[in-house]
Symmetry: C2
Subunit: 238 residues, 2 copies
């Protein structure tokens, strides 16, 4: 099979770089199709050696420069892991992070990295949205995406049907509750809902549960989405 | 004068895009050398019209396509503001944000945008560090950099000499105080100190003031710098 530059409808995606590929092997070994190794690859030490790891884990590997020319935009990538994309549905009884129409792969990856750090492992994405399997998302997640579950929905209403009992907290510039008033994590399942980078959440999210704002001065229009998410996730972490 | 693509030692820098240029005009009008307008520019409406603004503010402007080909990496820029770089020393009695060796222009801009949102207007940058006047920093700050003061120092010790009474809070993975224990902003001047994206702060920062950590699970190595900064700045905001 010829490996092509990632497209949304591809069956496979890939990790660019040693650290990401190690996360892939650790978490999703069974999805791996092949590990590609650049002819100039030099192992940092005996344990952090991709040849040893592939042999120990019984993973197919190949030394192949062309694949790097084709897939890698940066010159300093020496290991690529190609894996089959998989479904990893969110667990219904867990707290959920809901991202409505996220449009930036870098932000999506950073959000998942941050969320995993604060114990959130279940991500709901409402379309239209960027692709969680885009290699840019994988890279900015620092491999966190291999540790989490995620489900895509076409509308927020479709998502609500699978978790009617979740308490909804929508983050909005004109929310009614100041985040600083939230002193502890709810003890029932909840969903933290964030809008698109440019547009935020539309007014009708005021109809669901509580709306929360992060107080900031009017010298800026809004906070960066992944920064706002980090501030909220820290407050709602265990 | 011919306008060239930005270099660190240039006397001038520039804003790429209408919204950034408006911030520049609002905050640093006297530094502006010229406003360039793309021949395809179309005003969104009468008030948000760069020709009207330049006339009202008595600013020199020029319709010139070549400048856009030379400076702009994205096709959708129609307004560029060229301005003379300036010194804007931090105010000694104010709280300071201290960034030790920041290496990513995008992070630096996001930090200043976030910090301004939480009322921080004084930034100290310890070299080696990215250039605050890099057009990428300006862009990711969303123009916040025109609202703040900043000073560069070669070492942290040199910085300490100008503010010996500031209470120092260093953010470190192995800090001694959990950020969640900080319940209110100190009422004396303080400095929030953050390390480089990859390396963090070195051990000797344990010798100054208090060290703080942001609790997160061991499933991630660290938080993204601008996310960690946002979480801290929110706690220390007024």
């Amino acid at each position: 099979m010829e490996i092509k530059r990632y497209k949304h409808d591809a069956k496979f995606s890939y990790t660019l770089g040693m650290a990401l590929t190690i996360e892939l092997i650790k978490c999703q070994k069974d999805r791996i199709q092949k590990i590609y190794i650049h002819p100039d690859y030099v192992a940092r030490d005996n344990t952090y050696n991709i040849f040893n790891i592939c042999q120990e884990e019984n993973l197919p590997y190949e030394i192949n420069q062309k694949v790097f020319n084709r897939l890698s935009t940066k010159g300093n990538t020496y290991v690529i892991g190609v894996f089959e994309k998989y479904d990893a549905e969110v667990e219904q009884e867990k707290p959920h992070i809901v991202l409505v129409n996220p449009s930036d792969s870098g932000n999506l990856g950073t959000i998942i990295r941050t969320g995993l750090g604060f114990g959130f492992k279940d991500y709901v994405i409402i379309r239209p949205a960027v692709d969680i399997y885009d290699p840019k998302t994988i890279r900015s997640s620092m491999g966190a995406i291999f540790h989490v579950q995620f489900s895509y929905f076409d509308t927020f209403e479709q998502y609500l049907k699978i978790c009617p009992a979740h308490k909804i907290y929508s983050f909005m510039l004109d929310g009614t509750i100041n985040l600083k008033e939230i002193k502890e994590r709810p003890d029932t399942p909840f969903s933290l809902v964030f809008g698109n980078e440019a547009a935020g959440l539309s007014d009708y999210f005021h109809n669901y549960g509580e709306s929360i704002y992060i107080a900031h001065s009017n010298e800026i229009d809004s906070l960066n989405l992944s920064v706002a998410f980090g501030i909220a996730a820290n407050v709602f972490s265990e």
